[in-house]
Amino acid sequence: MKNLKVKITGVGKQNYLISIDEKPVQLKKNSFGSYEHDAQTEKDSVNIKIKTVHEMNSKYWFLTNIFFFIISIFGIFDYRFPKRCLSNSFETNVKLANEQSEINISLLPSQLGRPCAEVKSECEVQEVKNACEQDLVALKRMKTLRITKGILWIALIIAGIVLAFTTNII
């Protein structure tokens, strides 16, 4: 049985989904603010995947977002999603030579077209993917949502004007 200690720094407020050998893992936060996980395997190599998840990739993205829009009083008390919808995707294969191995992955700030992580390890590391890309699906959905919100705002203004005239407020 081989042991791999995975240490991830720079997670910040991003929502990362981390999986080792296709199995999602829950990382523990240590006293220095970085995340750790001890993976055990019989294999000679371990596959590590790290990717960001966007709220817009939900199954019911439209319904939930419209619901949030309405309860936040037409978006006044809602928070804004980042406009660029950047998605970090990192995948690496680590060859385990010793019984005890360690890998340090530092996640970098999202910048389009740049690598999203840096790896430090004594083991042989083969990077499969390391990029910061635009999530086109999320971007398209956000555009749809923005148009819908605009239509709802116009409808609200029209309804307000009609109501004001019919009830003789003005």
């Binding site: 929502n15 989904l17 998840v53 939930t64 008390f77 928070y79």
Partner: protein, 135 residues
């Protein structure tokens, strides 16, 4: 797993909206209390001329009646003070300051201007509701 994580994110999103709303609710409550206190002060100032009149009657000093004449300083002061503008100004300033104080809790959400704006709107609505400003 991804959908579970997204569901968690959506729950956080809902939490942020609710916390924003509750902060505005808090501002509304505090501004209502302040408004009542301020209104109490106004009432007290309005009672003062009555006390002066009582003084005039009790001490039989005609000078006291001067306070109640049409162009007296106290009446002018009182009329100005009871008009809506100072109430609007002070209540708005107080609620805006309260909103700014609330910013400490909103660092991550960056919606401070919405809170300030909404507080001002709420206070104005409150003033309309109390009949201070006529529409």
């Amino acid at each position: 797993m991804e959908q579970k994580r997204i569901a968690n994110m959506q729950l956080n999103h809902l939490g942020i909206i609710l916390s924003n709303l509750s902060f505005v609710g808090l501002i509304l409550i505090i501004s209502t209390i302040f408004f009542y206190l301020f209104y109490g002060l106004l009432v007290l100032i309005m009672i003062l001329p009555v006390l002066f009149t009582l003084g005039a009657v009790l001490f039989a000093n005609p000078d006291y009646f001067g306070w109640l004449s049409g162009d007296s300083a106290i009446l002018t002061f009182m009329n100005n003070f009871t008009s809506a503008l100072p109430v609007i100004a002070i209540t708005t300033i107080v609620t805006s300051v309260l909103s700014l104080l609330c910013l400490c809790f909103f660092k991550g959400h960056k919606s401070w201007w919405r809170i300030v704006l909404c507080s001002i709107i709420i206070v104005l609505a409150l003033l309309v509701a109390f009949g201070v400003i006529g529409v």
